[in-house]
């Protein structure tokens, strides 16, 4: 992930973002029942998609590490998980702010928000677990096992919490995909810049992992002298 590609990603993301903001704020009419607050969806939903993409990539990288035993996969797994967590946090906060207006309360046990919170806890546990292990090879193995477990757990969390909520009906953040096409286009269009930003951040984090390995090699060399 050389400097050039990172900069390219960021500039393209910025341009697309500017265009999307223009369309979002000035072109699209207010959603009839929710008013301007509705526009948060253009960041709330794509962030959730980016977060899940990150967690899925982490699971794939973890399986590849266990098969190939190459620490580069482990570095990729931690990079995408961290970026996924950042976007999950964005999803949670935007969801809460949106809920504040629609129901006047900060937190509702809405199925999607709750599931995202559980996912956030899961992968925060992953980072904490990595932090507790010093030896790189052991850390990669333990983290890979937990990442696979967490990724299998994510869909189960979503189903169980949706069932939990449908048993005690509660206002739902989104009534399903009944938006008209103009919104859908912007929604997808706005996902691209977020993806590009996510990829850039993951690239930087990946490079830092590689530099960390070089650092440890240097430290060993220094001790050896």
């Amino acid at each position: 992930m050389r400097e050039k590609t990172l900069i390219a990603f960021c500039t393209v993301a910025a341009i697309l973002l500017a265009y999307n903001l223009y369309v979002m704020l000035l072109v699209l009419p207010d959603e009839v029942s929710q008013g301007p607050i509705f526009r948060i969806i253009f960041f709330h939903v794509p962030s959730a998609w980016t977060a899940f993409l990150g967690f899925l990539a982490a699971a794939v990288a973890s399986v590849l590490y266990l098969v190939r035993k190459d620490l580069r996969y482990d570095a990729f797994a931690v990079a995408v998980t961290e970026v996924g967590l950042a976007f999950a946090a964005v999803t949670l906060v935007t969801g809460m702010i949106w809920a504040r207006i629609i129901w006047g309360i900060w937190w509702t046990w809405d199925p999607r928000l709750t599931s995202m919170l559980v996912c956030w806890l899961l992968y925060a546990g992953y980072l904490m677990l990595r932090h507790a292990v010093e030896e790189p090879t052991q850390r990669a193995r333990i983290a890979a096992v937990f990442s696979i477990f967490a990724s299998v757990d994510v869909p189960i969390v979503f189903f169980s919490i949706r069932w939990w909520r449908t048993q005690h009906p509660q206002p739902v953040v989104w009534g399903g995909g009944s938006m008209d096409p103009a919104y859908w286009n912007t929604l997808f269009l706005n996902w691209i810049p977020l993806l590009l930003l996510g990829a850039a951040m993951a690239g930087i984090r990946l490079r830092q992992e590689r530099r960390q390995r070089e650092l440890e090699a240097l430290r060993r060399m220094a001790h050896a002298l």
């Binding site: 620490l71 090879t137 390995r213 440890e216």
Partner: protein, 233 residues
């Protein structure tokens, strides 16, 4: 059939190569002394041979099979630093547990027989917690020999042994080699090891600095090996 066959074995902790390009073959019915300073990779190599760890690269064959193969491990006896005894269980219970894990026909019988051989029959039912260091050592040796293993992997077996225990262990190992079993022991106590060893392997910073039969001048002056090959790596 060779007891051990290692080909280009590497083991990494992150990027640090704990073992570098280890290749050697050990015939059956011999005693290999694995020498080297602390951190040279002796324990790592023994852990790979006893199936506790996988090599990073290269292939390892133990008794003709993969170290993690259950049938191979049933014919290997392991004695590590920690003696692997449960303080809250009695001596007999400890041995019976491992006899059952090694799927011996008569677990209690084998356990009782080995308690006599190491002179612990009297305290068979007392808890290991009350055992002295020497008694624990003897019980651990019994656990390692319990299932008549064809290959014995011993990590610094002579440390913290009183002289009586050293001689009993040496006799046991000598009998084992005479019965055609293979013994691999890693140690610092050069004299005790070199008396027993038919082969010697010297590890220096993860590399195999010397591997071959034990020659007589090694016996007269154990430090000769370290001087001659010690800093070669």
């Amino acid at each position: 059939m060779n007891a051990l066959e290692l080909d280009q074995v590497w083991k990494f902790y992150g990027d640090f190569p704990a073992l570098r390009q280890i290749s050697f073959e050990l015939p059956e019915g011999v005693c290999l002394a694995l020498l080297g300073r602390n951190g040279a990779g002796k324990t790592t190599l023994l852990r790979i041979l006893s199936g506790l760890m996988r090599p990073g690269r290269g292939s390892v064959r133990v008794l003709g099979a993969d170290p993690r193969d259950t049938m191979a491990r049933a014919r290997i006896g392991v004695l590590g630093h920690g003696l692997a005894l449960y303080d809250e269980l009695s001596a007999l219970e400890n041995l019976t547990l491992f006899a059952r894990l090694y799927a011996l026909k008569d677990p209690r019988g084998a356990a009782g027989q080995w308690l006599e051989r190491v002179g612990l029959a009297a305290s068979a039912s007392s808890l290991v917690r009350e055992f002295s260091r020497g008694m624990r050592q003897r019980l651990a040796v019994a656990r390692a020999f319990l299932h008549e293993p064809e290959l014995l992997l011993l990590d610094e077996p002579f440390t913290a042994l009183d002289d009586r225990a050293v001689t009993t262990l040496q006799d046991l190992l000598r009998d084992a080699v005479r019965q055609g079993r293979t013994v691999v022991l890693s140690t610092h106590q050069l004299r005790e090891a070199l008396e027993l060893a038919t082969h010697v392997a010297l590890l220096v910073r993860g590399r195999l600095a010397y591997y071959g039969t034990r020659t007589n001048e090694m016996l007269e002056d154990p430090a000769w090996l370290y001087r001659r090959y010690g800093e070669a790596a």
